[in-house]
Subunit: 436 residues, 2 copies
């Protein structure tokens, strides 16, 4: 990359609430990530108290160290909101009231039938020579100030939703133009394979290359961000496609999403497209699998219902799993998982059923380890059971179990290999498929 | 408070991964909050790249602006970990290897039967005159450097778990000593009443007083942090107790936790103490209520199981809610909620059952609004039904519904007023209880 052209950015988070720790500064992380993805280099970040001299000094210092300064927060109507004034002092310019912005604020209050407090008009103030950036999600407009020497300052609102919308509209496209190239960002999602193995498999694609491929380990999966840039937008897209194809070839069925879509959405969509339905039978997860599916709008078209079966008697009553079988094979067993899935499929009348039984911990019988989980998927052809030995605290095990269950449903519906062990080679589809 | 004695603190987050936005800097927020609660004033926070001059300059600048500098990160074994060296340069001292720490590292590798990479010994380096702080959760020790003029520097590890343990052991107690007083921190939790009303009710307790009471709005509840400080620890505790008693008097049954315990734990404990059991019947939440309860270790002693009943046929099959009733009253109705709860209580054989039906959105019938939810609780005496009209996106409505269900179970088990409407006065117990 041409060092001279690298866009150096300094981030400022303005607001004493950040310094009191009343909120976690997600804005800074989001801006840093998105700007880095677009080829900019974030050279510093600072949280600044709501004091005029502090804000002014922070802008001065940041402008001395970077070509762009991006500040969030301190744009509200109260006397504590000093970002506009601090910037004006730092660059030695005056603040004036923008008549159009003032009128827009008055109109807004008129529409809502509320009297407008006089302070509100502070939000219509603009540093001489700067442009206001419309805020479609809130009242405080943002600002962009271009200085004669090419440096620029962006003021964005503090509420994350407003910040994000304005950054996507005004900041990121300009960062891409600044870099002189079109940028294609894609999110790929992987489950059943840990971060270190994904790193190993994709090592040669993850250097300082273009497209850039970066892994972000999430709680129970790995997310890959792919950024392709090129002066010609079609070329950028083409190069991204080529990498996606190569990643898909190497990760096989463990790569479940090419567009950032969640595992829940992937499962609901796979079922819906085929007009098929699902039922759940959950012991250790106690409703987590069905609750995750129900996050997706329209889930009711594919999820008919489920049984949460903690007690052995309830496993028999709701799902017809004989108490004798539970006593003989053990409640956490291949046999009980299979019987739960088949019982749920029949009693709830669905095309597929998924069942989970296991020891989430910390309690577990002396001869069986915490983290041992069986997941069964039943369909018209029969039932398959997978075994996993997870580690970690109770709710991490429960989350991993729910993730595995959703993935096994996806694989069954799409006709992909069904990993019966936790061996990642099975998840990658490179081990021979085990016959049911 | 005596201004001259206020402990001014500057926070540094060292690591390029922070500036690339690869993680959200929760360490900074946590340190800021905990130090603020103990009377310190965090005057600045900065993220610093892994470059020696940057780290050195950041320490110099921070030491010029605060009495304490607390840095996290950059203590690992790699050449990128420059916090120790940067501090040494900033204060003009040498680094030396601490023989005990070096031996501890060698022993650790020996125990694990792994060869120790040479770089590992960087973690045993210490700035002349500084003390190493043991790290019981990881390999990199922390450091405390006291300068002649009373200023101090603390180096803490970057991984949040290690940072937290070391801060609790080494940093916070010293901040309390520095403030010359004992500090009692209590977390109170409130549900069913919004933040603005809590603010209004407790306004006179929330000024710049001692004890300090501060509200933190969470997604579906309000958390209150109470900090009481006094040179005499017994007095600090006594003053905290008095405020807790007053808060409890004003918030009544809406205050569900006096010790930070979650709503799920409160419900499981209330049932367990009375040797009582619970079953769930969930439509819009689809298992969220049972899954939340199952987060608590030992939940299986009180939760027998539940039914996730999305489809009307499943409501009839699993819970015996007649299709005719569903057609007549509507699936989202007081009558169906009551029938679901009674069906679950009988069929699953529990002392209590809680049932939820509602429109989570975005889909809803034209004549009924999204966010309309009925929650029913059945016990041996009959069934009571509450109605709520929530607003917000699908999964926020589902979360609010699950919160209401858990709260209504708690109230029923503890014999507290049962708010049939969403009017916060009912949640506070000040409206006359409605007969069942």
């Amino acid at each position: 990359m041409d060092e001279a052209r690298v866009l150096r950015v300094y981030l400022l988070s303005i607001g004493s609430e950040v310094l009191r720790g009343e909120l976690v500064d997600t804005n800074a992380a989001e801006l840093a990530r998105e700007l880095t993805l677009r080829g900019a280099q974030v050279v510093g970040h600072r949280a600044v108290a709501d004091q005029l001299e502090e804000v002014e000094a922070a802008f001065r210092d940041a402008l001395a160290r970077a070509r762009w300064v991006v500040a969030t927060g301190g744009l509200g109507p109260t006397l504590d909101d000093l970002t506009r004034e601090g910037l004006a002092r730092a660059v030695g310019r005056k603040l004036r009231t923008d008549p159009q912005a003032a009128q827009a604020l008055r109109d807004r209050y008129l529409r809502e039938g509320r009297p407008m407090p006089q302070e509100t008009l502070r939000q219509a103030q603009v540093v001489e020579g700067a442009d206001l950036l419309p805020n479609e999600e809130g009242t405080a407009p943002g600002m962009r100030l271009a200085l004669a020497d090419g440096r620029q300052v962006f003021l964005l609102p503090g509420p994350p939703r407003e910040m994000r919308a304005m950054a996507e509209r005004e900041l990121y496209p300009q960062a891409e133009r600044e870099a002189g190239k079109a940028v294609v960002v894609r999110t790929l999602r992987v489950t059943g394979v840990g971060e270190s193995l994904v790193d190993e498999i994709l090592a040669d694609l993850m250097g300082d290359t273009n497209p850039v491929l970066r892994p972000y380990a999430q709680e129970v999966e790995v997310r890959l961000t792919l950024v392709s840039s090129h002066p010609d937008p079609d070329k950028a897209k083409e190069k991204a496609q080529a990498v996606v194809a190569e990643v898909a070839r190497r990760l096989g069925p463990a790569l479940y999403s090419l567009d950032g879509r969640s595992l829940e959405e992937t499962v609901v969509e796979a079922l819906e497209e085929r007009h098929l339905t699902l039922a759940t039978a959950e012991s250790l997860t106690a409703g987590l699998v069905s609750a995750r599916l129900a996050q997706v709008p329209g889930a009711s078209r594919v999820l008919v219902g489920g049984a949460v079966v903690y007690h052995e008697r309830v496993k028999e009553d709701l799902l017809g799993v004989p108490l004798a079988l539970q006593g003989q094979a053990g409640v956490v067993s291949r046999e009980v998982a299979a019987a739960m899935a088949q019982g749920a499929r029949e009693r709830l009348g669905a095309d597929y059923a998924v069942a989970l039984t296991g020891w989430a911990g910390p309690d577990h019988p002396p001869q069986e380890p915490a983290g041992l989980v069986y997941v069964a998927v039943a369909d018209a052809h029969g039932v398959r059971v997978a075994r996993r030995q997870f580690t970690g605290p109770r709710n991490h095990v429960r989350l991993l179990a729910s993730q595995t269950a959703l993935d096994l449903v996806r694989r069954t519906v799409l006709g992909l290999p069904f990993p019966v062990t936790g061996d990642p080679r099975e998840a990658l589809g490179s081990a021979p498929e085990v016959a049911r």
